[in-house]
């Protein structure tokens, strides 16, 4: 089992290494370097030369990649172009803000998705299933910026229950922040819950149709005991990986949601840095978001391995 975990870990590191190459080469081959795209029309003469000097763009690309990668491993992303600040200082509060948003959405979303998924599977094709599944299709397919806009229009503007635009002063307690983040959290959790509930539903339905459950029914195991002891452990295990992929996929949606609510997280930093053509920050964001994706998947692999007794004894399979 340790070998398996180690193998997954190494694969994750290789993926991150390729990501760093892709972001570096991508920025390199797209027209314009960091200096010309940032300075735009003022990109000539002394200003350009100074900028090139400061970023070290005069050394060959492979040397720049090596020194950049070396610094990144040590946790140093260099300087941003626009703010003249260290990228780490820019990133710190943004990561914290986004974490608050994402973890709130996950804490609400996962249990809710489990409950809804199980309900829809057990009452398959009956009223509860039809209603919940229809709502799920709507909240899953409608883009985040539409559900977020509608939430603002209905809850903040028409009903005036909550503020529509998030204003986050630097030092606030959690309870002061709470009314500000309710709407963005709902917007993110809605789409995530719908996706996961659908997966849980079909996973439970699959297990319910299997031979050992039929056997349990024939043996007369009480219904709820069967559901909790026999169905759920087997149904939820394969769902873990899919849930992880869904959460990772929603990173893109978080970006859009943060823009709609003007929430100062990583997502808005993506837009800001791209609008400002601040390529060093874009590169840093690429690596950070990719590491989040890789670690979520790694954690999901770990969970699956730890919860699945069959995999504990296997050494090499898959």
């Amino acid at each position: 089992m340790f070998f398996l975990i180690f193998k997954r870990f190494v694969l994750g590191l290789i993926t991150l290494f390729i990501v760093s190459l892709i972001t570096f080469i991508g920025v390199e081959i797209l027209p314009g370097d960091a200096c010309t795209s940032y300075l735009e029309r003022e990109a000539f003469g002394e200003a350009l030369a100074a900028c090139i000097k400061r970023l070290g763009l005069d050394v060959p690309a492979h040397e720049r990649y090596l020194s950049w990668a070396f610094n990144v491993i040590q946790g140093d992303f260099g300087y941003s172009l626009s703010g003249q600040m260290q990228i780490n200082e820019v990133l710190g509060p943004r990561i914290k803000n986004s974490l608050v948003l994402a973890s709130a959405a996950i804490i609400i979303g996962i249990p809710l998705a489990l409950i809804l998924g199980i309900i829809t599977a057990l009452w398959r094709d009956k009223m509860p299933d039809i209603i919940i599944s229809t709502v799920a299709i709507f909240s899953m397919t409608i883009p985040e910026f539409i559900s977020a806009t509608l939430l603002i229009l209905i809850v903040a503007i028409w009903l005036e229950w909550l503020p529509g635009i998030v204003i986050v002063p630097t030092d606030v307690t959690f309870f002061e922040l709470l009314p500000n983040i309710i709407l963005p959290v709902i917007a993110i959790a809605m789409i995530m819950t719908a996706h996961m509930a659908r997966m849980v539903r079909s996973s439970v339905i699959q297990v319910m149709a299997s031979d050992y459950i039929q056997m349990a029914i024939l043996k007369g195991v009480p219904y709820w005991k069967m559901v909790f002891k026999h169905v759920l452990p087997n149904a939820l295990l394969p769902a873990i990986n899919v849930v992880a992929l869904t959460i990772a996929w929603l990173l893109g949606g978080v970006v859009v949601t943060e823009v709609v609510f003007n929430y100062p997280g990583l997502g808005r930093l993506v837009i800001e840095s791209i609008s400002n053509r601040d390529l060093p920050v874009v590169q840093a964001l690429g690596i950070i978001l990719a590491s989040i994706y890789v670690s979520i998947n790694f954690i999901a692999d770990l969970l699956t391995l730890m919860l699945n007794p069959r995999l504990k004894t296997l050494q090499t399979r898959k």
């Binding site: 390729i18 797209l30 027209p31 899953m140 910026f145 806009t149 997966m199 994706y293």
Partner: protein
């Protein structure tokens, strides 16, 4: 009796008849019927709307700013005095065209590369899949925004860029589907007959994985539409004054406390189209006997 049907002399169905069968199976369920109806409605609307649009979509008229819906302007006017109804019925044309061609590109390169990797296996397969994994772990929005901001928001940039970024997930699906058929006898015998890889892909594998790839492509279409609209919403999609739902929502959003009609109309247009494509893709998968609901949207 059913079983006594003479299966050897039965004529194979033409591909047209097969397509008709699939569509009628899709339409036999309410969700599939609704999805198909919405999709067909949107396609017809996108094709015909320039002929019956009541006003000029880019005519700015300061005296008509933010008029509420009336018999003259059915959906009201926006902050520049443009007719919202005209812009709404025209608003899906760009998105539909770009994402349609984008999905075809995604299907082609993703499907073919996936089949190829599944067939040859070994080191090439390992390397390609690592690269695909790496691309999957970069959020699409960051990569798309970077490309679009550096290369511009023209159609020639958007279609291949979207096609590329939404095709990488198809590589995995096509590869998995190929693995399912690769061990079957007819592939082994084709190899034994000395067919080339290309001929095996075209004649033996493609007909067997086609359904899975097509379903994936239909699903990608709706995600790509979602992605494209998000780009427009963020101001990185089509450029004004082209009417586009994502752009219209983002423009009208700031004033929605007193002009909700300008934001509701494009919201209804975009949501209904995405829901329509999704329901259609789901029904399409069910009609072909493919279960997608346990898959993550990567």
């Amino acid at each position: 009796m059913e079983n006594s049907k003479d299966i050897f002399n039965e004529k194979p169905k033409s591909s047209f008849a097969k397509a008709f069968d699939v569509i009628s199976t899709m339409a036999s369920k309410p969700s599939g019927f609704i999805g198909l109806a919405i999709l067909v409605f949107h396609i017809i609307l996108a094709i015909t709307s320039p002929w019956f649009a009541p006003y000029d979509y880019k005519a700015i008229n300061p005296s008509l700013m933010l008029n509420a819906p009336s018999s003259e302007f059915w959906f009201g006017t926006d902050s520049l005095g443009r007719d919202v109804f005209t812009r709404t019925i025209l608003g899906g044309r760009t998105a539909l065209t770009i994402t349609f061609f984008g999905s075809i590109i995604a299907l082609l390169w993703g499907g073919l590369l996936g089949i190829f990797c599944g067939l040859v296996g070994g080191r090439i397969d390992d390397i390609v899949m690592r690269i695909v994994d790496a691309f999957l772990s970069i959020p699409w929005i960051l990569a798309m925004l970077l490309i679009v901001s550096l290369l511009g928001t023209t159609t020639e940039v958007l279609i291949p860029a979207l096609g590329f970024f939404y095709g990488k997930g198809i590589v995995r699906v096509a590869r998995a589907a190929t693995h399912d058929v690769i061990a079957k006898d007819f592939i082994v015998s084709a190899k034994a007959r000395g067919h080339s890889n290309l001929s095996i892909i075209w004649n033996e594998i493609l007909p067997n994985v086609r359904d899975a790839i097509l379903v994936e492509g239909a699903m990608r279409w709706s995600w790509m539409l979602l992605g494209f609209s998000s780009l427009s919403f963020l101001g990185f999609g089509v450029s004004p004054p082209t009417p586009d739902w994502g752009l219209m929502i983002s423009n009208a959003r700031g004033l929605m406390s007193f002009a909700w009609w300008a934001v509701i109309a494009p919201i209804v247009g975009l949501s209904s189209l995405i829901i329509g494509i999704n329901l259609t893709a789901d029904a399409f998968a069910k009609a072909l006997g493919i279960d997608r609901s346990t898959k993550a949207p990567v």
